[in-house]
């Protein structure tokens, strides 16, 4: 266990936590630490963080828990620690089976720690803890491979503490609509920094649904920081659905990087709903590497109070005939602030590509704020690209019409807001998940 105040990162020259016996892991962690130190914390001058201030994220003293070397599985010969690792025990705080109205393959994290290292799977689906994956060694082919850690300070920080997470691999024998749930439950009042890193590998022709759910129970005012990295490697003609619901405590911090690579004919369908946290950033980078790769990056965010919710995307069309769609909608009340930074990059070879992006925000109060930065970088000819942004209040004529039929003002507003967000939620191809999300 150690303590860290992010703004004092310069003091973090000596690292005592990197005590693994697994040499490859030690190297990754050290690279992460160096990348974090060289980037430092984002400031308003950092282009990628122009609109999103870290506020007290940098001042809080966070506890970072890490298993010591003894509880690590490692392929290193010096390490014989399997027995001590927690197996299969479900704490009752992880109530997910009872809450979701559909069946899932379940992976539970409690305060950022994986709750088991054996998972119920089926043919074509493999889920292993990162710890086991380090032992096996395969995972090193993937870690940090889809993005440049020197451009993502929080992913670098995450890598410096690399330990918690799972590796999920699916192949063409797996074709199950039942989502693989990554259930992130936070509770208690320790100010904790949890770094979780997941690797999802979809072999050629695989289809799978990943659902992340972040929530907090008990202590509404908990201050904690979930720092998440997910790397997706989507093989030829594979189809991955990635849904996320972020309902962190309202004083929590949540920063996530989703880095996605899509090969020929592969498809990444994503939807993210952000409802909680004081500061939350959902950053998605997709590299459409080969022809006919497609990505849908859709999101809804909704908040009040003083929160800042940031949705940042970067879609890189590297190859010809690739397609991307982005639809992001925000509902901002109180003194809250929405941020959308959406980038579409079309490389010179990426002819006949299509990239579409639309952001819409509903401002429910005078002090609500939204900052939008669309960026198109088009280096190829013969492409179809569009982007748009609109923000405004609820339509007064529509509101009047509903109320003039006897519907109360609040209910009328709810109906209009629901109509606004349903347009995005209806793009979720997994109907069970879509229905659940509509009910939140």
């Amino acid at each position: 266990m150690s303590k860290i105040v992010l703004k004092n990162y310069a003091d973090w020259q000596q690292d005592d936590t990197n005590t693994t016996f697994c040499p490859k892991l030690a190297i990754l962690r050290e690279k992460g630490r160096q990348a974090f130190l060289s980037q430092g914390l984002p400031t308003p001058k950092t282009e990628a963080w122009k609109y999103t201030k870290l506020r007290n994220l940098s001042d809080e003293e966070f506890v970072v828990e890490s298993d010591d070397k003894n509880s690590f599985h490692c392929h290193d010969e010096k390490c014989h620690c399997h027995d001590e690792h927690e197996t299969g025990s479900h704490e009752h705080c992880c109530c997910h089976e009872n809450c979701l109205p559909f069946e899932v393959y379940e992976v539970n994290f409690c305060n950022g720690k994986l709750k088991a290292d054996h998972f119920h799977t089926t043919q074509g689906l493999s889920i292993v803890s990162l710890t086991d994956a380090f032992e096996n060694g395969d995972v090193f082919k993937y870690l940090n491979k889809s993005f440049d850690i020197n451009n993502f300070p929080f992913a670098a920080l995450n890598s410096a503490y690399l330990e918690q997470g799972v590796m999920i691999a699916v192949d063409k024998n797996f074709n199950d609509d039942k989502p693989i749930l990554l259930n992130f439950h936070s509770h208690g009042d320790i100010k904790r920094l949890s770094n979780v890193y997941n690797v999802i590998v979809a072999e050629s022709g695989a289809r799978a649904t990943i659902l992340e759910h972040y929530y907090c129970s008990g202590a509404e005012k908990s201050v904690y920081f979930n720092n998440i990295v997910n790397e997706f490697f989507i093989g030829r003609d594979a189809y991955i659905r990635h849904y996320k619901v972020q309902q962190e405590a309202f004083k929590a911090f949540h920063i996530a990087l989703n880095s996605v690579q899509v090969k020929q004919g592969g498809h990444y369908e994503s939807f993210c709903l952000q409802l909680g946290a004081d500061l939350s950033r959902q950053e998605t980078q997709v590299v459409l590497k080969e022809p006919h790769a497609e990505a849908e990056v859709n999101a809804v965010y909704k908040m009040n109070g003083w929160a800042t919710l940031d949705t940042t995307t970067d879609i890189k069309h590297i190859s010809k005939e690739t397609v991307s769609h982005q639809l992001v909608k925000g509902i901002i009340g109180g003194k809250a602030k929405g941020v959308f930074q959406g980038k579409i990059h079309i490389a010179p070879d990426a002819v006949k590509t299509e990239g579409y992006q639309l952001h819409k925000a509903l401002l429910l109060s005078d002090e609500a704020e939204v900052d939008v930065k669309p960026e198109l970088e088009i280096f190829a000819d013969d492409v179809k690209c569009s982007h748009g942004a609109a923000s405004g209040e609820l339509d007064k004529e529509q509101l009047f019409y509903l109320q003039s039929r006897g519907i109360g003002e609040d209910e009328a507003k709810t109906l209009l807001i629901k109509a606004f967000t349903d347009e995005v939620i209806n793009k979720i191809s997994c109907t069970a998940v879509a229905e659940w999300i509509k009910s939140l």
């Binding site: 003039s404 006897g406 003002e409 209009l416 109509a419």
Partner: protein
Amino acid sequence: MNRTPVLEIENLCARVHDKEIIKNLNLTIYEGEVHAIMGPNGAGKSTLSYVLCGKEGYEVTGGSVKLYGKDLLKMSVEERAREGLFLIMQYPVEIPGVPTTSFLKYAVNDIRKHRGEPELDTMEFIKMLREEGKKLGIDNEMLKRPVNVGFSGGEKKRMETLQMAILKPNMAILDEADSGLDIDAMKVVAQGVNSLRDGKRAMLVITHYKRLLEYIVPDVVHVFANGHIVKSGSKDLAEELENTGYAEFVKDIA
């Protein structure tokens, strides 16, 4: 005969964006009566209907309005509707993403709750909606669509009439319910309206054409110009206006 007034408007003055539109309007409508209002474009007929419904931006600067003795002007938009006021709008707004059926279910049940009646469950509601829809030539497919989205002018008016039929107001205002309707559709709408004339329900029919009034025969016809009623008469007044136009009334005041 002891008649009960449904709507009592006294010396009503109202403005839109600092422009005085309604000036000292007086009008009382009793139970079971149908009044027609005719008047030149821009006279303020729609403004009057919005003022009565309590639309934002329509500011009452004087006078009073009572609905069954209750001060209408103090109520919110939805309270007025729940107390039994209903407006067929001249230009019904489209609401993408809100399915007609669920919108109407909220409306019906909010009004029933207010009246102390039990709420309808989905089955009961759908059955009632379909039956009433059928009478107005509205099929199930139309009911599934978002509110008014992509409806033709005539379809919108039929949908408004359907809403009136299921919300069962005691004071209905029809603002150009006939505009955009072909002759057959006008008959259907008029029939729908007439079937709601039950000796108690009161109606205020705003129209430019005497044709509608041949189907929905009014008890009184008013000429509305310069912000108030300048002349009232029997249904024959509509016939007269058809021939003379409004020049005389507009000039009179100016």
